[in-house]
């Protein structure tokens, strides 16, 4: 854990100070914003994935594979559509974002708690349902976007790709606030999550308020996915790599250790990867695509190994 913390600090320093030009003040503040965004997104995705895997008791799922991020994009579009451009556009970005997150929590709870409760037996069907729901939400969002503004090719485009170079810095303060709150809550209930991972019958027998904790965990996932999606766009497989590595590195299923571990690993991968691509290779926006590619291969490998639990 200490080694990982040092590695993360090193990566951050390298990202900030490598190749500062003469206009270093300007560059530094620009980079600091991006760095904060990446750290937030990394932590959010890491915690969201670990929580989701615990709730679904399945190690190959991420909230994004199950369509969480698509749901957020749909919510966002639907909100603009239903409130009209007049009222909604006049709100400031943070307020707008807070409203979106609140609606996202309600929608994802309604959908995913029933889905996880009902389809728990047939894992393959559960995953397939999630994937198709993702397609449905994304198409519906595209449909709505076209209705709002028929020439808005860009809206759909934006929702289809992620880029870590394009952190939405307007939202940083509120995103930081929400992420920190959600992560603190997750760490606070960490011992209870260990019991949750034993499955409902055992958890109930041990006196855990299982269903309430599951709803709490899903709400946290909804908040964290909203933050990550709003900041950089949809990233489906990144969390899978992070959670997989964290489980290996932590060596135990204890969430008090697993969650910080996952956050550190995510931070190192994002900041280190971005430093490498941006500074060493001169490629601005490709890290997300590369991570998705590698993560997709990893997921495929897991599936082919028959490890769907």
């Amino acid at each position: 854990m200490i080694a990982l913390s040092l590695a993360l600090t090193g990566a951050c320093a390298a990202y900030l100070f490598w190749g500062l030009g003469p206009k270093w003040q300007f560059v530094l503040s620009l980079r600091a914003g991006k760095l904060a965004g990446m750290l937030l997104v990394g932590a959010a995705v890491a915690v969201a994935t670990v929580l989701f895997q615990t709730v679904s008791r399945n190690r190959i799922l991420t909230p994004q594979i199950m369509g969480f991020d698509a749901l957020y994009i749909l919510m966002q579009t639907a909100l603009v559509a239903s409130l009209g451009l007049s009222g909604f556009a006049s709100l400031t970005a943070p307020v707008k974002f807070a409203v979106e997150v609140a609606i996202m929590i309600a929608a994802s709870l309604a959908l995913f708690s029933t889905l996880l409760g009902r389809a728990g037996q047939d894992v393959a069907r559960l995953i397939l349902t999630g994937v198709i729901l993702g397609v449905l939400f994304r198409s519906a969002a595209g449909f709505l976007a076209r209705l709002l503004d028929p020439n808005a090719f860009a809206v759909v485009q934006y929702a289809s790709f992620a880029s870590f170079a394009r952190v939405n810095t307007d939202l940083l303060p509120i995103a930081a606030l929400l992420t920190c709150a959600a992560i603190c809550a997750a760490l606070w209930v960490a011992p209870r999550l260990d019991v949750l991972a034993l499955g409902r019958p055992i958890a109930v027998s041990l006196g855990l308020a299982h269903d309430r904790l599951m709803l709490l965990a899903l709400s946290l996932v909804a908040v964290l996915v909203s933050v990550a999606t709003a900041l950089v766009g949809p990233i489906a497989f990144f969390g899978l790599i992070v959670a997989g590595l964290a489980h290996e590195a932590a060596g135990s299923g204890r969430h008090a250790r697993l969650l910080p571990m996952a956050m550190l690993i995510a931070g190192i991968m994002l900041v280190g990867g971005q430093t490498l691509f941006e500074r060493a290779l001169g490629l601005q926006s490709t890290l997300a695509v590369v991570i998705e590619f590698v993560g997709g291969l990893f997921f495929l490998w897991l599936l082919l190994r028959g490890r769907i639990r």
Binding site: A124, L128, L133, R146, P150, T286, F293, G296, L300, L304
Partner: protein, 317 residues
């Protein structure tokens, strides 16, 4: 033949509607006298309607063939990496030889689609046999990975706009006379499947059963691959990705009529055509005079139908 007849009858009014709806004013009665109206009809409306019908029919049949090859009901060319492979092939040819004639592009896309589908068939042989739903899942993930490759290359080479059209939202708004005729070849490939219908039906029983009946399963497999790849590649080259048709239409038809392909293929073709036509008309009307791409409409309608299929009964191969 009742369902086929009923579907053909619904195709007629849909086609008529498709001919009448459009941004430009046109009166069907005045086609004979008004040269402007005749021009709109022959250059835009008629080609578009034909393109939609050909696409829907060909994709429906490609879906059936794919499902027989894989022996799994939950696959179609759009969820097995076929479409993304075709896009990859197109991208490659656009980079290597931008000025290549259309038939070279078409060949490249078809070959790439074939390779991608063959890769998928290879992969799923390694899956545990009873996990029926893992097959479409592997296909979707493979599609995502291939799609990421296409996106990456497109990003580096500033061809993203072009790829976006191929990969994400198929639409017919760009169809005019002279720019859709490749689809006739796709329809011909699909018709080829009808002549080999019995072979595919037997292959669907399993390789052992096919060999026992004196059929060479590999040869049928190759024929199926060609049909699926050619149809998918041509549709992508001409109008872009149209999702779910190959999946939901064959499933609904099989539910009602079973799997005797010689009888069901025409119904599947008519059903595919009717569904795409209906969705295209919806896309044209809902925000008139602008258009919502048919790929987007089908993304919504198709995924809802798919979920319905997934939960209506216990999953079967």
């Amino acid at each position: 033949m009742r369902p086929a007849l009923a579907l053909s009858l619904t195709l007629l009014p849909l086609s008529a509607a498709s001919l009448l709806i459009g941004a430009a004013d046109m009166n069907l009665a005045s086609v004979g006298t008004d040269p402007q109206a005749a021009l709109i009809l022959t250059v835009s409306r008629l080609p578009r309607t034909l393109a939609v019908i050909l696409t829907g029919a060909a994709l429906g049949i490609a879906g059936v063939v794919m499902q027989q090859l894989v022996r799994n009901r939950f696959v179609e060319p759009g969820t097995t990496g076929t479409a993304e492979s075709a896009a990859l092939g197109l991208l490659a040819i656009a980079l290597i030889a931008p000025a290549a004639p259309i038939w070279v592009k078409m060949m490249a896309a078809s070959l790439a689609a074939m390779a991608g589908t063959a890769l998928f068939l290879r992969l799923i042989r390694r899956l545990p046999a009873r996990e029926v739903l893992l097959v479409p899942l592997v296909g979707i993930v493979l599609s995502t990975i291939l799609g990421a490759m296409v996106t990456f290359i497109g990003w580096q080479t500033d061809l993203l706009q072009m790829i976006g059209i191929w990969l994400f939202t198929g639409e017919f708004s760009g169809v005019i006379a002279g720019r859709y005729e490749l689809l006739w070849i796709a329809a011909a490939a699909a018709a080829l499947a009808w002549f080999a219908a019995d072979r595919f039906a037997i292959l669907g029983l399993g390789e052992a059963a096919a060999t026992g009946l004196g059929l060479n399963p590999d040869a049928v497999m190759r024929l199926g691959l060609v049909v699926v790849a050619v149809v998918t590649a041509l549709v992508i080259v001409t109008v872009g990705m149209i999702p779910f048709i190959g999946l939901v239409v064959p499933n609904i038809v099989a539910r009602g009529m079973g799997d005797n392909l010689r009888a069901t293929l025409p119904v599947t073709a008519a059903g595919g055509a009717a569904l795409v036509l209906a969705c295209d008309i919806i896309g044209r009307l809902v925000r008139y005079p602008y258009e919502v791409p048919v790929g987007t409409v089908l993304g919504v309608v198709g995924s809802l139908l798919f979920l319905w299929l997934l939960y209506r009964e216990p999953a079967r191969g």
